[in-house]
């Protein structure tokens, strides 16, 4: 695009310089010269476009007369006869002078503008769609139109004469531009929107019409080749356009877009050929119905049509974004124009000395302009901390599809690329600038596709190393977030495993013991324990905990009630009962305490024949010590075959990291229980 701007400027300047080469005589306004020096003018000498003469001999004669007239005008002074605007004959002696920019007529600038507009539109389309044949051919029509219009502008707006050799060169350039334009137009409709032929076959019309161009440039034969060639090209374009139109019949949207584009292109070309080129060629008139200079404007219809079609129907796959580029260009032009206006205004102010102007510009205008520019075009790059929530949102999205959508959204919000995302042909390992900054290839985070972003900031700038760093930061943040998420998921799954294991170890083992318990009441007791555990797990999960003081209160009441039924006095000695206070313990420990105390009570009731039971509680450090003594007959823990009851007690206590001991001392049978307390989570870890 910028290359095209530069090209348009260079072409415009070159054309102006060439147009300033001939001399200028100050004829009265509207006067038509009839004689220059000793040469009588014939009407064709003043034709803007000599092509209208129709044959090569006439053309060559025309160039010779132009050279002779130029020579006559090169004298220090020249006598010119002319007809005034009122139709009176007059003559005077003129001193030719150098031509100035202000001497160039409007028609010259009009044709330059046509060329510039064509060049810019070409650059615009080409910059956004490089690899597309249709877009390439469209760009070629713009380039060739500019060549034709800008070269014609020089000779068609000459005052009286132009050096014959230069004239012939410019005419040849114009013919080359015209015929190449025709080639591009034919090829455009062959390839766009759907290729009618393989690209290699484009060579056929190209070579064919190039031969015609060669015949034209070498002035082979008598009649000029130009008009028939262009007529054939136009007919072919209409034919291929029609075929394209017919082929697009199934696709209403495509057709709607094509309608504008084809209509404007073909009408533009047809108007030029029909109103300016053909009438003199066919002998209908000496000159075209519309002066050629203005007829070139018809071609710009093509560009207007394209602009229409792009906005409404995405011709060439260009979206509305494509207009941001014009906005940007317009903005730059506006700044330039403002500078110029300010400059001219300051020049005309009587009070403005150079120093005041400098102060005004330096301290007021330039800083103000800079501020506005920065506001308009330099958005602050997003802060990493602002992006974090979005990265998390992306990385923690529940499904890969959603992750992909959010990642794309994040890239969209961060870089505002003007074009749709593409998938890079080569997946990069790190973020990379591609296509000289027009694109940025970003590898996908784990499991997501890589992306090719085009035209950042809605096409207002190019990608730079800052963007690469930002993209890398996003990728890293995404990586960290998704890894943490994975770790979390692993934790959840580990926790699930732990729950299954706990269920298996506790409930499973207890049910198994119950299954193997011979005695009915023992079976019942074991099942009751298991049921309690299970209910607890279901209502609170493994993580539930209890206030230790409540646990002991419940156990104390229960045991007391049971023993009382059997007339056994019960003493609960908890010197440190209050100390247990608010301490919380996990339910597995609670169940262990409960089942051990219940088992002990059951054993005493059934076997001991005791009259008194004492439960003594102490806490040392993070160990709880419970000593249950009875004055019954006792047993030798080593001698008795330990039943399932004792084994069950021992197992539960051991699984909680505690110890249990049965001992006889001072005529009292005792059970010593030691269980570690501590934080519930530490407990359940220990339980594993």
């Amino acid at each position: 695009m910028s290359a095209c701007v530069v090209m348009a400027l260079i072409a415009c300047i070159t054309a102006s310089l060439l147009a300033l080469r001939p001399v200028h005589v100050d004829l009265p306004a509207g006067a038509v010269p009839t004689r220059v020096g000793s040469i009588d003018l014939i009407p064709s000498d003043l034709y803007p476009e000599p092509d209208h003469l129709g044959t090569y001999p006439l053309m060559l004669e025309f160039f010779e007369r132009q050279t002779a007239l130029t020579a006559a005008l090169s004298q220090p002074s020249v006598h010119i006869a002319y007809t005034t605007a009122q139709g009176q004959a007059d003559s005077a002696e003129f001193v030719p002078r150098a031509r100035q920019l202000s001497d160039l007529p409007f028609a010259f600038w009009f044709q330059q503008a046509v060329g510039v507009l064509a060049l810019l539109t070409s650059g615009w389309v080409l910059a956004l769609r490089k690899a597309d044949w249709g877009a390439g051919m469209f760009a070629l029509t713009g380039l060739t139109l500019a060549i034709a219009a800008m070269s014609a502008a020089i000779y068609s707006t000459r005052q009286i004469a132009l050096d014959g050799d230069l004239f012939r060169i410019l005419s040849s350039v114009n013919h080359t531009g015209s015929i190449t334009f025709g080639i591009a137009l034919v090829n455009l409709f062959l390839m766009y929107p759907r290729p009618l032929i393989r690209p290699i076959w484009l060579l056929v019309p190209t070579v064919f019409f190039s031969c015609g161009l060669l015949l034209e440039l070498m002035y082979v034969g008598k009649e000029m080749w130009l008009a028939p060639i262009i007529a054939v090209q136009l007919l072919l374009s209409i034919l291929f356009g029609g075929i394209q139109w017919w082929r697009a019949r199934g696709d209403q949207v495509e057709r709607a877009g094509l309608r504008w584009f084809f209509l404007f292109s073909l009408i533009g070309c047809s108007l030029f050929v029909g109103l300016s080129m053909m009438p003199p060629m066919l002998g209908l008139a000496d000159q075209g119905y519309v002066p050629q200079a203005y007829a070139f404007g018809f071609f710009n219809l093509m560009h207007i049509g394209l602009a229409f079609a792009v906005t409404r129907w995405r011709v060439f796959e260009l979206d509305r974004y494509a207009y941001y580029i014009w906005l940007w260009l317009g903005g730059a032009f506006l700044i330039f124009a403002t500078d110029l206006v300010l400059l001219l205004w300051l020049r005309d102010q009587p009070w403005a000395s150079l120093s005041i102007a400098l102060v005004l510009c330096g301290f007021l205008y330039f800083p103000l302009r800079q501020v506005i520019l920065v506001r308009l075009f330099n958005r602050k790059p997003p802060q990493v901390s602002e992006l974090m929530p979005y990265v998390l949102d992306t990385a923690l999205a529940p499904t890969p599809a959603l992750q992909s959508v959010r990642w794309d959204q994040l890239l969209q919000d961060t870089f505002a690329p003007a074009a749709e995302f593409e998938i890079p042909d080569v997946t990069p390992l790190t973020a990379q600038i591609r296509e000289n900054g027009a694109a940025l290839a970003v590898p996908g985070p784990k499991g997501l596709p890589a992306r090719l972003l085009r035209y950042p900031a809605q096409g207002r700038r190019l990608f730079n190393t800052g963007d690469v760093e930002l993209a890398e930061t996003l990728l890293n943040m995404h990586k960290v977030a998704s890894e943490s998420h994975l770790a979390y998921e692993r934790g959840v799954s580990m926790e699930r495993d732990r729950i299954s294991r706990d269920v298996h170890d506790n409930i499973g083992a207890q049910l198994l013991s119950a299954l193997h318990a011979a005695e009915g009441s023992r079976k019942d007791a074991l099942l009751r324990d298991t049921l309690t555990d299970l209910r607890q797990i279901i209502s609170d999960g493994f993580r539930s905990d209890f206030r230790l003081a409540d646990v002991f209160a419940d156990l104390r009441a229960e045991m007391g009630d049971r023993l009382e039924v059997h007339d056994i006095t019960f003493d609960w000695q908890a010197d440190a009962a209050e100390e247990f206070g608010e301490q919380r313990v996990p339910f597995l420990l609670v169940n262990t305490l409960r089942s051990v105390l219940r088992e002990a009570a059951s054993n005493i009731i059934k076997h001991a024949g005791a009259g008194q039971v004492v439960v003594h509680l102490t806490q040392s450090g993070d160990m709880i010590e419970i000593r249950i003594t009875d004055n019954g007959q006792g047993f030798d823990p080593n001698a008795v075959t330990r039943g399932e009851g004792l084994n069950n007690m021992a197992e539960r206590v051991t699984s909680q990291g505690g110890t249990i001991r049965f001992a006889q001392a001072d005529g009292l049978m005792g059970v010593d229980l030691r269980l570690p307390l501590g934080s519930p989570s530490a407990m359940s870890e220990a339980a594993q």
Binding site: D524, A553, D554, R556, A557, G560, V565
Partner: protein
């Protein structure tokens, strides 16, 4: 209560027969919570007396009626009548209403 040992259920039934209303530590704690959260009642009769509160607290800590009686130096029958007064102040006159109130206070979800 379903999973309580059978001899325990037997003892509790016997107590009820003997005129002692059962009051497990868990329920005692719930009742204390109830009175604590509803705060001082406008009607004086609906508030627990200091003695009743003391009984309730001891029962909540696992002491049986006889233990409470010993601890507070009272006759067991006096303690029993305190327990009955506590029930009355919960505004329960029938067993159906007791079940309703218990459900309302979340007592039934316990076991």
């Amino acid at each position: 209560m379903k999973s309580d040992p059978p001899d325990l259920i037997a003892s509790q039934l016997r107590n009820i027969q003997g005129g002692t209303l059962p009051l497990s530590p868990a329920i005692a704690r719930r009742v204390m919570d109830h009175f604590r959260t509803t705060g001082p009642n406008v009607e004086d009769a609906a508030n627990l007396t200091p003695r009743e509160a003391e009984v309730l607290s001891l029962v909540g800590r696992g002491l049986r009626v006889s233990d409470v009686a010993a601890a507070l130096d009272l006759a067991p029958s006096t303690v029993s009548s305190h327990v009955k007064a506590i029930y009355r102040k919960l505004n329960i006159s029938s067993r159906a209403e007791a079940a309703y109130q218990a459900a309302r206070m979340g007592l039934l979800s316990d076991q």
